[in-house]
Symmetry: C2
């Protein structure tokens, strides 16, 4: 089985590791040290070797930070991880603070004293992330100083796992849809338009996309860790650990790309003297900026030129996503059938739920990986937004409770991500009211048409309004971008309360996942992926509009819907959606599953 239920860290980590870190800090004359969750590649998922925050504190969430001072320390997490951080870290060692509300900057302003020197590893912070931290330290009269050697790495020593060396392999044109050399030509033109001669790109997803390759350095995303320099004429240098490359890869990359070892990057940067080098200050680490400036290059700060073309999938990728979703749906529908039959008579626990769903996905024969560890939250565990079941937290769902299952698969032709919430036994009327409000939000965001130029932030309220009207809300974004056999969380587009200036474009895949969480009781989330399309011309309309095509195909639990709360338009959307699910998936599953599917997809 791919998913495990072990805890990778525990609250004793702080007591064991903080003294080692502080000793290394003292050697370097540091009064404090910043430990971000981010690693050298600014990824969401890290190789074990780069789980510095977990090693230092015990906290294993996907976002956070710590500050270690000589006599004090604090760990910073966002609202999703408040509970988790409390159980994973030692309260005697770490003050727990909110990552968002002032966060590290507010802490530095009071914890740092005048004249103190706080170290940071410039490889782990983007300039955009670093700027407010520097300003906060300055307000306290302290200084942030880049370190030569990371005290955490020094303290971790020989027991630190090695860096991953998974092979980097071609991603076939039948899935990528555009030749790599053509992509680099196109990106080169963007680099020239931005006024640069060359771009330094460090985002693994951009590297994977730009060269039509996939790797395995990071769990759950087929990413190759590396760096690349792309010239305005499309020629490029790709820096990858030779242990990860092969003659096949060399041939695949073609003549316009040189494949080099990571050690050659420093020299390549030194060669950029006098050139205008595009780097993304939100993505590449501060270390690159310092090296480029030291080399005498002119840094052009601009967005990663691969980000937008990667996000706006081409027709082959969109068709791949459709195919992946049909395949994934056969697993999901079998799983939901199992939950509706055996699951109702003898309710499973969370671990059994995860194992069963993984087995159904595995049975498709095409699963390359999960796109993330499945969240199966029974009853109260469903209210923990970023819950991951472990042996310790495992809970059996009881009759009258809800089971929330958020999961996805990585396939060569696409990445999926779906959440369904299922009632075990009879749901309460409150549950149905809340579920229906979440559904109304989901439908509003699925049906909307919008003019070119509209951002995800502008649409977010559609998914929340029905909850807001009842004095309810959810504390997470409504939708994230999704890669094409790449990261399941991919920018630059996003549907969320926070302002985001990236307009939605045809081919962009986003999730639509409003929810409602009642602490200690239950969680509800309904998530489909949808792709931005040019909407069909609307009779009587006077401007072209964009819209969404829903990719995910699985029934929504009708026993949780208070039908009288839906408008005729909302009912029509749901009936059309369910009819599509039945038409596309019933022919692909066993007769008894197909019969059940037809039943749960009937008109309401």
């Amino acid at each position: 089985m791919r998913q495990t239920f072990d805890d990778h860290a525990d609250p004793s980590f702080g007591r064991k590791h903080l003294p080692l870190i502080r000793a290394e800090m003292a050697k370097q004359g540091l009064d404090g040290f910043l430990i971000p969750h981010e690693d050298e590649h600014q990824n969401e998922y890290l190789p074990d070797a780069n789980e510095r925050l977990a090693w230092a504190t015990g906290f294993t969430g996907s976002a956070g930070a710590a500050v270690v001072m000589a006599q004090a320390a604090a760990v910073f997490v966002d609202g999703r991880y408040t509970l988790q951080a409390q159980t994973q870290t030692d309260p005697e060692l770490f003050e727990r603070r909110d990552l968002m509300d002032g966060g590290v900057t507010a802490y530095l302003e009071t914890a740092a004293k005048a004249g103190q020197v706080i170290g940071y590893d410039a490889r782990l912070h983007s300039p955009d992330a670093l700027a407010p931290l520097k300003a906060a330290a300055a307000r306290a009269g302290a200084t942030l100083k880049p370190v030569e050697a990371n005290p955490v790495d020094a303290a971790w020593g020989e027991v630190r796992p090695p860096q991953p060396q998974a092979p980097v392999v071609p991603h076939a044109l039948e899935h990528a849809g555009e030749d790599g050399a053509e992509k680099r030509q196109r990106v080169g033109e963007e680099i020239a338009k931005a006024g640069a001669d060359v771009a330094l790109i460090t985002a693994p997803a951009s590297i994977a996309w730009l060269y039509n390759v996939r790797g395995g350095d990071v769990i759950r995303s087929p990413l190759p860790l590396g760096q690349t320099l792309v010239q305005a004429d499309g020629r490029a240098r790709l820096f990858l650990d030779p242990a990860k490359t092969s003659p096949e890869l060399r041939a695949w990359l073609g003549n316009s790309v040189t494949l080099e070892a990571p050690e050659a990057l420093a020299g390549a940067i030194a060669d950029l003297k006098g050139q205008r080098v595009l780097v993304d200050p939100a993505q590449a680490s501060a270390w690159y900026f310092a090296e480029l400036e030291a080399a005498g290059a002119t840094v052009v700060r601009a967005a990663d030129p691969c980000a937008l073309p990667r996000a706006a999938k081409n027709p082959v990728e969109v068709q791949g996503a459709r195919n992946a979703h049909v395949r994934d749906a056969t697993a999901i529908v079998r799983f939901l059938y199992w939950l509706a039959t055996e699951g109702q008579t003898s309710p499973p626990d969370e671990l059994e739920t995860v194992a069963k769903l993984e087995a159904f996905r595995e049975a498709t024969g095409a699963l390359r990986d999960l796109s993330f560890d499945t969240i199966a939250g029974a009853g109260a565990n469903g209210a923990i937004v970023h819950y991951r079941p472990t042996h310790k937290s495992n809970r059996r769902v009881k009759r009258g409770e809800l089971l929330l299952v958020d999961s996805g698969g990585q396939y060569l032709d696409g990445t999926t991500d779906i959440t369904r919430t299922v009632a075990i036994g009879e749901p309460s009327s409150e549950m149905c009211d809340r579920f229906t409000r979440v559904l109304k939000g989901h439908i509003a965001l699925a049906r909307i048409r919008f003019p070119a130029g509209t951002t995800g932030s502008a649409l977010d309220v559609l998914a929340r309004a029905s909850l807001w009207m009842a004095g309810l809300d959810y504390d997470h974004g409504t939708g994230h971008g999704v890669g094409s056999y790449l990261g399941v969380h991919e920018g630059p587009q996003r549907i969320a309360k926070a302002p985001n200036s990236v307009a939605l474009r045809p081919g962009m895949i986003v999730s639509n996942e409003p929810g409602y969480y009642k602490t200690g009781a239950y969680g509800i989330r309904i998530e489909n992926l949808q792709v931005v399309t040019a909407a069909k011309p609307i009779p009587g309309g006077d401007r072209p509009m964009l819209g969404f095509e829903t990719l995910t195909l699985a029934p929504i639990d009708r026993r949780l819907i208070a039908v009288e709360m839906l408008t005729p338009d909302e009912r029509a959307w749901l009936n059309t959606y369910h009819a599509q699910v039945a038409a596309k998936i019933a022919p692909l599953v066993e007769p008894e599953v197909a019969a059940w599917l037809a039943e749960v997809c009937e008109l309401i």
Copy 2:
């Protein structure tokens, strides 16, 4: 009558004035000169003396710019003013370009040549506005240079009108609701929090608010033009033309304020050596920044500390707004009654419409000014978003057409702004469909509840979704902030597509004005003002929400509503609204008007 129907400028202005401006440019060795619409006070409405853009080009809109080169010139306007700029400027002299899409920066990149020097008047540009222009000139190899003397002013010469000298008078506590000294204490604390010793404030609306005074330097807004320095301890220096002051004003300002002549400002800035001075780079002009830096002060760039407290009205101001809206509604309801009776039998022209409405407002006995020139757009003129009727453009409304009337009044206790669209004769079913979609948007934005932290940008889609679903939209913002007997367009909050990071707070007044415009045919807009309030606790809800209280009280033309397109919730909102209008206004108007009002406010 307050409103006039004359054109203040015409296309001949360019031919008469450009040569004079170019001669002055040549004297100063300039290859080009920037002429923004903004004046020294960065106001929306300008005194005649500062209408430099109109004098140079003939264009009289409320936003725009021109660039004059030796051999070429361009005028830049946004989508609202495209048609107007075409009729008001000479095509042989001015290229007409879009202010938004690249705008002045794109023009500079191609029109300016390497080595050229383009002048600008640093008093007329904020640093935020100037930065992209400087960058664009640099890309062309040209330089932007601040001038000592503005070539437009020099060319204008003796026929330029004098600067206004309207008396500055106390704004009574019964309307302001908070003592001026208390305001300055509060603002002083914000200045200290921002890390500054003193703030230089140049926004006339902020000065009016901070000192509880009103002026008359600018038409349609009771603004005093001046500058002020406010210390962190609340003590302040106010710079006003002595011709505008009086012993009464001096007494009103109290002991903590010194009243000085504008000539003293330069010396006061020189005295700030070594101090940390807060200035708003989006509001104050670049000239102040240069002077402060030359004086050896440290500039702290931060938002005008009066902007948020001014926008979030106190309970006295909110009650004042309610009272002003009831009073204004008596004029509006009488006007609508006149339109529904005489207006239907012998349809008026636009000028008669404006005069009639102004007379009804004047008859309240409390009108201090219009809050802007009334827009009365008959038929196709209604589709011109920022239309202002003139003798030349005047049109009589025909049966089967729509009449759009957007107007407002300035009263001591509040500023109003209302748009109603009325059918003269029988409206088409298309008009009713469009009107109902606009109404659905208006209602969605009036009814919504939302959590603290929500911005106007996040709510904008609510007003547009019903149009978007039909392939329709409108090219203006949905809502602007409104002052308290101050500017009818007031920031920093705004409801629009463009991102805005200012959260809506209780006491903020915003307009709710979706519309639909069919070029050459008709325009529809429904506008009420509404104030942000803490919504009543919602049974079953688990978080506090904010909401809106509608201030504007006037019936919405039911003959234009396709009732079957409204949901039960929308009908309930409209019926409740109309019941309030009838209950509050009917007792205040003549019996025949009251009877008509009761009828048009009946349940639908």
